[in-house]
Symmetry: C2
Subunit: 335 residues, 2 copies
DNA sequence: TTGTAGGCGTTATCAT
DNA sequence: ATGATAACGCCTACAA
């Protein structure tokens, strides 16, 4: 078997507790013995057993990520892997381990969370999406287990979360289109159960109101997914409506991709802006203007909040807003 | 604190070992006590502590994934997240946990592997790429630690790995282009240090040889990355060469994307096939023909091999070949 | 069939 | 400054 703290103690001629103290840089240990113990550890190539340590500390230094696995191709998008990478940047720096699991439904997500908590594997959990009346969130609160959400939940501000300012971002996009001279601006979004949908619509509405532009409900399409098909369908409806829009604000790039297909089919090409700055946006023809939401930073900040709260550090804020920026491309630059 | 096996034992009026036996379905336990103990477990909402269990068993039921983080945008591609999802499908089924880490270099990868092993967190490791003289592989072998590689390593067949038949796949692509009547077929690949590069080139060469077509080295471009820029540069060289190709086999979609840009710039459009069936391939104009390598299945099979070997199950094969299929799209269908 | 006791490797409390 | 001891929660000979 592997070399243990006892082996080191024997070789150094001290007790296991002394070795433990050396490992943890306990101040009241003589330089002399510290040297001897360190030598013994090197000689034996000793490495602490993290599992035993976890048992003794009742803390695993591990964070669990709950990844959704939506029916559409949501998870094939770079958002998740980018956020996971962001999370890894901060967590690895802090010597935290990362666990992940994919779920196929909200129920399954709750199941994995329950399992992570009951088994004692993780110290905290990262949720990748905030739904309306989110069962994961209510379960985690019921269990009083540390977690952070990527995306602002409706449940209030005693929850840790990070998000973009979705209201502001869509406000900016809408204003940008208004500035270009368009007044009839169509809005295509994903399902209403997601906070991101409601917030982006809110930004759209606010922008129009602040410019004294009347809201025309017939210009607002709430899709039942974030897929291209949905975007296509919504756009088609808009095109065929009595009073079609002059420009489109889309709450997601993929919805915008679908919308562009519908427009091409109809032989028109209205200015359009998407969200998430997906790789394809850049290479589409015409290249799609899109809002970069910085998923890496979302991930980093999320796990930073979580880890700091696990370490009982004082959190100046329970929430972090990550800035977005509009990447202007061909679908709007020529107007 | 959480309820332990001892609490259950007390409530059921038995010893902890009896409870443990019930949990593990030990055959020599009376139906009577089994019932009582189960009742007690439910009443107390008992859940075994996985950390304590791991310590006692010296097995964590956890697999560690080592993700590369190449300088180009490799990791933003769906391959990794898809493979991770495939891994999760099998692992979650087998009640295995998954850990992951991103590395910025081969050295860092070795560091994370060392850490995973020394800390005792994981029972086995999944490598996401096989390089020439791969340091991760040699380190894992030195430590005699269980692992599996996605991608065939050069080190031989006592290693667990899964891969596509890259030789055959590129053989098929090349043959497909030959069938269409082209004889001067250009080849664009990524760096030579990756087995996938060497194997796909081999398939290309074999296909030409089998058709008695002379190999023209000037048609073969080995890029120094898998990025679009590289593809662009390689294609430009091919176009400007004395004797340019009539069609292109590309070992990667992104290389193909870059190549298409170069062709568009030059006002030509040679037939071209890529690899990986990236989402963008479908939506490019013209849509890119590409080989679907089935990353989900690669992940599933990889972790299946690893877990079975951890469970000392007899493995009929140490390697698995996952089938590929050519998705024909506009870049070749019209020829 | 069930209980006892020791061990997994580390930490923390209490002595000394 | 260092050592002995118990504890973390579970498993598994060995005994009974």
């Amino acid at each position: 078997m592997a070399v243990t703290i006892k082996d080191v103690a024997d070789r150094a001629g001290v007790s296991p507790s002394t070795v433990s103290r050396v490992i943890h840089n306990n101040p009241k240990i003589s330089e002399e013995t510290k040297k001897i113990v360190n030598k013994a550890m090197e000689d034996l190539k000793y490495h602490p057993n993290a599992v035993a340590r976890s048992l003794a500390n009742s803390s695993t230094q591990t964070i669990g990520l709950i990844l959704p696995n939506s029916s559409d191709d949501l998870f094939t998008r770079p958002f998740f892997i980018e956020a996971m990478r962001g999370i890894s940047i901060y967590a690895q720096n802090q010597k935290y381990n990362l666990m992940y699991c994919f779920s196929n439904s909200e129920e399954e997500e709750v199941g994995f969370i329950r399992n992570y908590i009951n088994s004692g594997w993780v110290d905290g959990i990262v949720l990748f999406t905030a739904r309306k009346e989110d069962k994961c969130i209510s379960y985690l609160r019921k269990r009083d287990f540390p977690f952070v959400v990527i995306g602002e939940p409706e449940e209030g501000d005693d929850i840790l979360w990070v998000d973009n300012d979705n209201v502001q971002s869509m406000y900016n996009v809408t204003s940008y289109l208004v500035e270009k001279g368009f007044r009839r601006i169509g809005l295509i979004t994903g399902p209403d159960q997601f906070a991101v949908t409601r917030n982006r619509r809110e930004g759209y509405l606010q922008a129009l109101k602040s410019r004294k532009i009347d809201i025309d409900e017939s210009l607002i399409r709430t899709g039942d997914s974030f897929s291209e098909e949905t975007g296509y369908r919504c756009m088609k409806e808009l095109i065929e409506s009595e009073n079609p829009p002059q420009a489109i604000a889309s709450a997601d790039d993929y919805l915008a991709f679908g919308a562009i297909s519908a427009m091409k089919e109809a032989g028109i090409l209205l200015p359009i802006v998407g969200f998430n700055n997906s790789p394809r946006a850049e290479f589409l023809s015409p290249a799609l203007s899109s809002v970069d939401i910085n998923p890496v930073l979302l991930g980093e900040n999320a796990v930073e909040l979580l880890i700091k709260s696990l370490q009982n550090k004082i959190l100046p804020f329970k929430n972090v807003i990550v800035g977005t920026r509009l990447i202007e491309r061909e679908t709007t630059s020529k107007y």
